[in-house]
Symmetry: C2
Subunit: 148 residues, 2 copies
């Protein structure tokens, strides 16, 4: 995987990953450990709910986005990630095939530290119907190539 310094990050050029297939087994096992609500762990209870079946814990959906981030052709080097806003747009269900798209929507040099820059990325997770299930907007602190 290519690693970007601040100068290398292309603006408004989205990269998309391969598919992550969500299995019922993994969705349930994750939720049992980290978010044991019946809607995430109990197929019977979930079928009787307004969702009509199991849906993934939001933490699981984040974890899939993180795993897909490691399949990008390139990603920024990161000094720190200060703040992320997550928007949950559709439930994730067993059998879903998810892809992530990542795009730098804004970047600037740091005003106080010449060895780094600030880059804002929008990551969108979509299912096999093309529906966005999760949007992540993250502000990252990224090293500059020849400074510091």
């Amino acid at each position: 995987m290519q690693e970007w310094y601040f100068e290398d990050i292309p603006l408004k050029q989205p990269l998309t990953t391969s598919e992550y297939v969500v299995t019922e087994e993994e969705l349930i096992a994750f939720a049992r450990k980290w978010d044991p609500l019946p809607i995430h762990t109990d197929p019977e209870a979930a079928r009787a709910s307004p969702h009509g079946g199991l849906i993934a814990s939001s933490t699981y959906t984040h974890a899939v986005a993180s795993a897909l981030g490691h399949r990008m052709a390139a990603r920024p080097l990161i000094i720190a990630g200060n703040e992320t806003t997550s928007r949950y747009l559709q439930p994730v269900r067993p059998g879903d095939r998810l892809v992530a798209t990542s795009e730098c929507v804004y970047k600037r040099e740091s005003r106080s530290k010449p060895d780094r820059g600030i880059a804002r990325f929008m990551v969108t997770l979509r299912n096999q119907k093309g529906e966005s299930v999760l949007e992540l907007e993250s502000t990252l602190v990224v090293p500059r190539r020849d400074r510091g």
Copy 2:
């Protein structure tokens, strides 16, 4: 655990959980699956880094916050969670003992749907030194007790 309808949610009354002890083994195993960066998975490489040792993947820190949410004495029923802002304030390290505090900072009835309300929660994860490591601000849609 007590489950709150919209009317039951107390404003500005924080609840705190018991401790979650972060083990190196769990931190590494989680990151190997979901966020395999050396800073999260390789103690040697992490020691040589500016962090001076392993730090947790942000996704792992979220997962701990989620697990601690299930140890609250009470929590709201949830129709949907639309948006969460996460602030990463300090790295989480092996051996850390984390507690979560949750507080409703704002609530209002829905303007369009009489069977529900909107509640904004601030969840803070703190380590054994009292440092905040993660803040989560979430807007939840919560059912009203006798409407709809």
